[in-house]
Amino acid sequence: MQQFLDTTLGGLVLGAVYAAFALALCLIWRSTRIVNFAQAAMAMVTTYIALSLINVDVPYWVAFLAAIAAGFVLGAVIERVIIRPVEGKAELNAVILTLGLFMVLHGLTALVFGVQHRGFPAPVSTNAMTVGDTSIGITPFGILTIVVVAVVMAGLVVLFRFTDLGLRMRASAFNGEVSRLLGVRVGRMLTLGWALAAAVGAVAGMLIAGGDLVNPAFMDPFVIYGFIAAVLGGLDSPIGSVIGGLILGLSLSYVTGYVGEHLAPLVALGILMLVLLVRPSGLFAAAAARRV
């Protein structure tokens, strides 16, 4: 029972991070119909930027903000310079392009920062919390993770639902040409979409790195898990991404805890195929089924 509770709590924390990551993928998919396979590498880069700052004694939260800002800039630059030429072209091109970007960012980070594993601090304790005498399987950092992801989500909901900027971004994503006719600077909105997504990815990177070792490959599992979480909820649906992330986090946590860590990717693959073949638009997509 104790183990089940611990595993569940661990899964929720993990799921929250997957959710943030899936959310980032979803933002980009909505704005440019591209799955950004370089998302994990971008988040890794921003996390390294934060780590370099922390290592010269910059306070954690300043470094955290710096990572977000770096992500924002990185996302914008990548959209403008690299992605813009393939927007609206054959989807295979964008896939290959982002995979290439993944490899380049990976390699460059290794060249610049080295490949050794480095410790990454957490802003709050990573020791289990106790209720009375028994300790429970969640740490203050785990709670912080869930809170941060919830805040990010709430922020995005407010942005998209209640602000003119969000309306412009959504309109650009859904129908660029019509939006232009209505005076929306669609190009800017797409850039902003990538920038926001990369900033959200940067947050996810910081949350994963905290209290763990980082190296240039530390985000690699997220290339697939983030994608699966996003597809699970329907690539188009931010709320779906979040729920997809939580479902995936819990599933993988149970698999790791009760069966074996090595089977986690296989279970993830099973979940992905099931969703793609049975409910291609994801579990929570509101729109009519799209071809996958």
């Binding site: 295979l92 896939v95 290439g100 460059l108 080295g114 697939i224 597809v231």
Partner: protein
């Protein structure tokens, strides 16, 4: 002029049948290759052997992606399946003789054919980013199965027995001696074997792509809706393409196992699948020559780039990172600047200039 015409008429039967023509080219190519391998150092021979299995895998992938328009990032996983299948067979047979080697490779191909169908059926229903994500997951998930069952050797993998030169049939030893004036050893054997199978595989693939099946694949790639209207069973065409491609990956995996002499999950990383894609994209999607060029780059670039990096003052570990950066840049630049790849761009250039020539002639 007369003589050449007579020669042409004599060779017509060979030229008019694609298979015969491809086989002839294959034979010539193998003789050239054998001469090169025979006169190379052991170190180069291992590089050639590596190039051969990369080329087989890339050839299969290029058929899949270039001709039938499906993307697979899971070919590393399929190579793993082939490698484990071949290794398990070699473990049981001892792997001492040439027959053992071929049996192992045939089993690798057969197992991968089955896996190809299993993966191909659902994959045929996916497109674009979805198939990319699904096959990428496959690439991560399959090698981890080695940790599940003890007979697969876990993380540290399985040792692969390799035939010793002395166990090879005498006629092969004599033949090699006759042509290259060098004794065959393990390294040259694997290089000969690899290139022999590579040429065989490419002849088969070239033939296939000229055949009705190949035309169907292209039809499916270019416009699936009209292909379907023309009576082509989309799913079936895609599954066949995936299976053929998987068989190539299986053969490549089997050869890789023999070359590396160890089959372990750590060999089959996401990076392997991505570098295969890089080879195919670099060469030009759908071109076998391109796949060969791409494979050459895969086999030689890492060492070249690492040396370059080290001489530029990077530490050994950093220099090793130059290679993936180059692969990644290749992927990006090809997509942004020359989406047809090396061979495709060259072909377009040639086509344009020959078009120019014919125009000049006619006017």
């Amino acid at each position: 002029m007369k003589l050449t015409e007579r020669l042409r008429s004599l060779t017509r039967p060979v030229r008019s049948v694609p298979l015969a023509r491809h086989l002839l080219v294959g034979l010539i190519a193998f003789l050239v290759v054998a001469a090169i391998i025979g006169s190379s150092s052991q170190y180069l021979q291992t590089r050639y052997a590596e190039m051969a299995f990369f080329a087989i895998a890339a050839g299969g992938l290029t058929v899949l992606t270039g001709l039938s328009g499906q993307l697979s990032l899971g070919h590393g996983a399929l190579m793993a399946v082939g490698a484990y299948a071949a290794t398990l067979v070699l473990e049981r047979t001892g792997g001492e003789t040439l027959a053992d080697v071929f049996v192992a490779l045939l089993v690798a191909i057969a197992v991968c054919a089955v896996v190809g169908v299993i993966v191909g059926v659902p994959a045929a229903r996916l497109h674009g980013p979805y198939i990319a994500g699904a096959t990428l997951t496959l690439a991560v998930a399959v090698p981890r199965l080695a940790n599940q069952w003890e007979f697969l050797g876990g993380e540290q993998g399985l040792q692969v027995p390799v035939p010793r030169a002395a166990e090879l049939p005498v006629w092969i030893q004599d033949l090699v001696w006759f042509f290259t004036a060098a004794e065959i050893d393990q390294y040259s054997f694997l290089a000969y074997l690899g290139w022999f199978l590579l040429i065989l595989a490419f002849v088969a693939l070239a033939n296939l792509s000229r055949s009705r099946i190949g035309r169907r694949w292209r039809a499916v790639r270019d416009d699936d809706v009209s292909a379907e209207l023309a009576g082509i069973h989309l799913g079936r065409a895609r599954v066949v393409a995936f299976t053929v491609s998987a068989m190539c990956a299986g053969l490549a995996g089997g050869l890789m196992a023999m070359n590396v002499r160890l089959t372990a999950p750590g060999a089959f990383t996401i990076t392997l699948s991505l570098t295969l894609l890089a080879a195919v994209v670099l060469g030009g999607l759908g071109s076998l020559t391109g796949a060969l060029i791409g494979a050459g780059v895969l086999a030689f670039l890492p060492h070249f780039a690492t040396d370059l990096g080290e001489s530029a003052g990077l530490s050994a570990t950093q220099a090793a990172e130059v290679t993936p950066v180059v692969y990644g840049l290749v992927l990006m630049l090809v997509i942004l600047l020359a989406p047809a790849g090396i061979v495709g761009s060259l072909r377009m250039f040639l086509a344009r200039s020959s078009l120019g020539q014919t125009k000049e002639k006619t006017t």
